[in-house]
Each structure stands twice: as C-alpha cells, then as structure tokens.
C-alpha cells in the first residue's frame, strides 16, 4: 500500500478511536459502571441513599467487548449478505446499543431493588431519562470501534475477522476507559465534598456527593462534569493506542524486509521510553507543586 494512503487510513482510525474512547468513558459515567460504582453501591449501606443510575453490567472491558462483538457479528453477517458496509456498521451498532440498553435497565433494577432494606428508592424516571443517553453513547462507541475494525480488515488487510477485531478493541477500550477516565469520576466527581488534592480517605467511603448544582445529582450531571476532562483524555488514550500501534508499521513497512520491521519495533520501544520519561517528569513536577502530606519525623525532630 502507498505509505500516504496507509497514513490517511490510520489517521481516520485514530480519529474514530478517539471518539470511541471519549464516548465509552461518558457512557460509564452516566450509568456509573466499573470501579467507581463500588462507592455508589456502598452509599445506601452507609445510610446515603442517592439518585444516581447504578448499573454494573460487568467490568467495563467485558461489557464493551460484548457490545462490540455483537455489533461486529451483525455487521459481518450483513456485509456477507451483500449490504453496503456503512449500512451494515450502523445496523450492527444499533443492535449492540439496544442490547446494551436492555442490560442497563435490568442492571439498574437489580442493583437498586436489592438495596431496598437500606431505603434506596428505584427511580422510574431515571430509567426513562438515562437509558436513551446510555444507549446513545454505546451506539457511538460501537460504531466507531466497528469503523476502526472494518478499516483494519478491508483496507489494511488485517488477517483477523471483523467480529474478533471488534471484540479485542472492545476489551481494550474498556480497559483504557476504566483505567483513566473513571478515576476522574471515582476520585474527584464522587467526592467533591472533601478537600481537593488527595486520594479518598477510607473513612469517607460511601459518602458520595448526592446534591447537584440544582436538585439531586444524577448520572447525567456526572457525565457533564467528566466530559470536561475524564472523557476527552480517555479518548486521547485509546486514539493514541490505536494510532501508535499502527503508525510504527505504516512508517516502517515490514513488507519491504525484516530489517525495516525491526526498525518499526525499535521505533515503538523509543515511543515507550519517551512515555516513561514523561511520566517521571510529571511525577517530579507534581511533587514539587503539591508538596508532602506529612512532615518527615526525623527532620521534625532535628528541627525541634
């Protein structure tokens, strides 16, 4: 393939992946999925009943992998039957979003109803207002992942099938979403009632913020906040993963010989080394800017 064409396809894949990452994180914030949901589930038990949509269908990676594999399989069947690729990908994503919506509703009912003894209400209007948003986000995520997978199969001639690639990217986007954007939701948004700039003190577990800027806080309020930082950076992370892992072989095409293949491997290692140094830079800068949480006992004694 022409290097320029390869680069163009990769850029498109990177853009689609960035949108997929951002919408994946915001979907998990609206529905409160993944690890921060442990606090949402704990809250009623600590006598803090709330109005937050609590769906933990499963961990984010399996849930997204299921969604994307369903979408990929539907699209693959339709393409084999002669449908145009765009139509097939859209219908695949709609089917996936519908199934995800079903799981969301049953998960919300199950989670909330099981906490009846802690006086946690089941809000029917939350189902009506939040489920379409969740399905909308899951449609965007699935569609973008299907675009990435389809481009890999159809243009970059990747040997894996469309459903398997969609499954793998679903696992990856879920893993990235739950590792990056969810921290913004779990460590910051859920606990804005404690002082900024520290991890959650175990003593505050379950004491999540329940009041919003206006009225009671719900999942859509959470996605409004996380859309300012957590969502976009998740998108960047997934976009970078998809783009960089393909970019090194697009730049140094291994079809031209093993030597060039090795150059692509070395380029990848250099990227990783740069990221290690960047992390070190952030670590040093953060420590200098924020300072310590406690005094060094030995130094304190010497000073005394």
């Amino acid at each position: 393939m022409e290097p320029l064409t390869g680069m163009g396809v990769l850029a498109l894949m990177g853009a689609a992946a960035t949108i997929a990452g951002a919408s994946e994180d915001l979907e998990s914030d609206v529905g409160s999925q993944s690890n921060p949901n442990s606090q949402v589930q704990l809250a009623p038990q600590m006598m803090y009943p709330h109005r937050i949509y609590s769906k933990a269908i499963s961990g984010e990676p399996p849930s997204n992998a299921l969604m994307c594999a369903i979408g990929g399989t539907t699209a693959s069947v339709l393409i084999t039957a002669g449908a145009s690729a765009v139509l097939a990908l859209v219908i695949g994503a709609i089917v996936a979003a519908a199934i995800h919506g079903t799981y969301s509703v049953t998960a919300y009912f199950g989670r909330s109803a099981s906490q009846k003894r802690f006086k946690q209400p089941v809000y029917l209007d939350l189902i009506a207002s939040h489920t379409p948003v969740i399905m909308g986000y899951s449609f965007i995520t699935t569609f973008c992942i299907l675009v990435v997978s389809y481009l890999m199969v159809a243009v970059l001639a990747h040997p894996f099938s469309l459903p398997l690639l969609a499954f793998i990217w679903g696992i990856t986007v879920g893993a990235i979403g739950s590792s990056t954007g969810d921290v913004h939701y779990g460590a910051e948004r859920e606990f804005q009632n404690v002082e900024y700039g520290a991890g959650l003190n175990a003593a505050n577990s379950g004491n999540i913020v329940r009041k919003a800027e206006s009225g009671l806080r719900n999942g859509i309020d959470n996605s409004w906040f996380c859309a300012k930082f957590g969502g976009p950076v998740t998108g960047l992370a997934f976009g970078m993963t998809v783009f960089l892992s393909g970019w090194i072989t697009a730049l140094f095409d291994p079809t031209k010989g093993d030597a060039i293949g090795w150059v692509s491997v070395i380029t990848g290692v250099i990227i990783v080394l740069i990221l290690i140094l960047w992390n070190r830079n952030i670590e040093v800068a953060a420590r200098a800017a924020f300072g310590t949480y406690k005094e060094d006992e030995v130094e304190a004694e010497v000073a005394a």
């Binding site: 890999m152 959650l200 957590g230 670590e283």
Partner: protein, 239 residues
C-alpha cells in the same frame, strides 16, 4: 479416525511453546501495577482497574500487532517483538494518561505505600501518601514494571498465536487464522485470570511483596496451559 498421538507428537514443539507462552503471560500479569477499585478512588497505587482486564487489554493489542506482522513475515523473533511492542504501547499510553488524571484531575502526586524509597529513582514515597490511602498514581518503578509486564504479556500472546498458526493442518488460511486467533485469546484469558488469585486485587509492580508469589501462579499456568495446548493442537491439527 483422528490419530491423536500422531498429531501431538508431530507438533510437540508447538505444545511446549504454547505452554511456555501461557506461563509467560501468567508471570507478566504480576508486573502490571493494578489497584483495582480502590485505585479508581485514588486509594491505592496503580492503575484503577482489574488485573485481568488490563493485562488482557494490553496483551490482546499485542496480539493484533503480532497478527498483522505474521501476515508479512515468517521471522519468529520479529513477530514476538511486534507483539511485545503493541502491548507495551497500550500499557504505557494507558499509564501516562492515568498519570494525567491523578495529577491534574485529582490533584495528588504519584506515591507508593509499599516501599519507603522508589527502587529506581530513590525518591522518598511515604511522605507523599495522602491520609487514609494506600498510595496513589504511578511512581516511576510502577510505570517501568507495567511496561515490562506489557512486553512479556505481548511476547506470550504472540508466541501462542505463532505456534497455533504453525501447526500442520488442512485448513484454508482464513479458517486457520480464525481458529488460531480465538484459541490465542482464550488461552490468554485463562492465564490472565490465574495470577489474580495471587494478586488479590492490588499489586504495585515487581517491588511489591506480593510479586514474590509468582512461582505458584506460573506453575498453575503451566499445568492449565498444557491442557489447553493439547486441545488447541488437536483441534487445529485434526482438521
């Protein structure tokens, strides 16, 4: 009738390679700094997700890059290296963006609660751990450990895929790729789950005391993957 012993003996080298690949994945998971649910609330050092999930996310990204490389070359070293690089890139990108969120979104510096000094940078750790937490973020040692984990997991996944693709069989290429890739993903998950019993939710990396438990998981993975490899080799080799 399928000649079970014949197929196994003809592909014994691949049975061994798949088993070793599984053990490598099992070992690699111990390197990955995961803090589970507590890390999502900046209550524990590491990445805020589950062990299996992150290891699988990285390893499978490596499998995608290795699969693409295998289509254009037969060089085993290059295929394994490209699997390692794919997984390392996913892991390091996830960790650097995680570091952004901990530092700029939550406002806490990276700190380990398991060691007083970072073994790589020699920086003091305990003073930077906020009250009521077990550390937060990704200090340099955890980041480097995660990159090593990603590399080993990528190599393990790629080794399994390479071995499955090399088994003698009568399948058309497209079916062989389909079966080999699904078996590779399945064997990957088996070996990503086994170490999570050792890790029990949180591990900071190779400096964590829990890391020393890895021989048990590796042994368990060797046994489990051996059976998986027999099934995989018979399934693909018998067709």
């Amino acid at each position: 009738m399928i000649d079970i012993v014949g197929i196994l003996m003809a592909n014994i080298i691949y049975v061994i390679a798949i088993t070793l690949g599984g053990a490598l994945i099992s070992w690699s998971v111990h390197f990955v700094p995961v803090g589970g649910a507590p890390a999502a609330m900046a209550q524990a050092t590491g990445i805020g997700t589950g062990t299996v999930q992150l290891a699988a996310g990285a390893g499978l990204t490596g499998l995608v890059t290795a699969g693409a490389m295998m289509q254009v070359t037969d060089n085993m070293g290059l295929i394994l290296a490209s699997g390692a690089v794919g997984a390392m890139i996913m892991m390091s990108v996830t960790m650097i963006v995680g570091a952004w969120v901990y530092t700029y979104g939550v406002g806490c510096p990276p700190a380990s609660a398991k060691v007083k000094y970072d073994p790589i940078t020699k920086d003091r750790q305990d003073l930077y751990v906020s009250q009521g937490t077990e550390g937060h973020g990704l200090p340099t040692v955890s980041f480097v450990s995660g990159v090593i984990g990603g590399a080993l997991g990528g190599i393990g996944g790629a080794l399994i895929y390479y071995s499955l693709m090399s088994i003698e069989n009568g399948l058309p290429l497209v079916d062989l790729v389909g079966m080999a890739s699904v078996f590779a993903v399945g064997i990957f998950f088996v070996n990503a789950v086994i170490p999570s019993y050792n890790i029990g939710g949180t591990i900071e990396g190779f400096h964590d005391p829990k890391f020393k438990r890895f021989p048990k998981a590796v042994l368990a993975s060797l046994i489990a993957t051996f059976f998986c490899s027999i099934i995989a080799v018979l399934s693909i080799g018998g067709l």
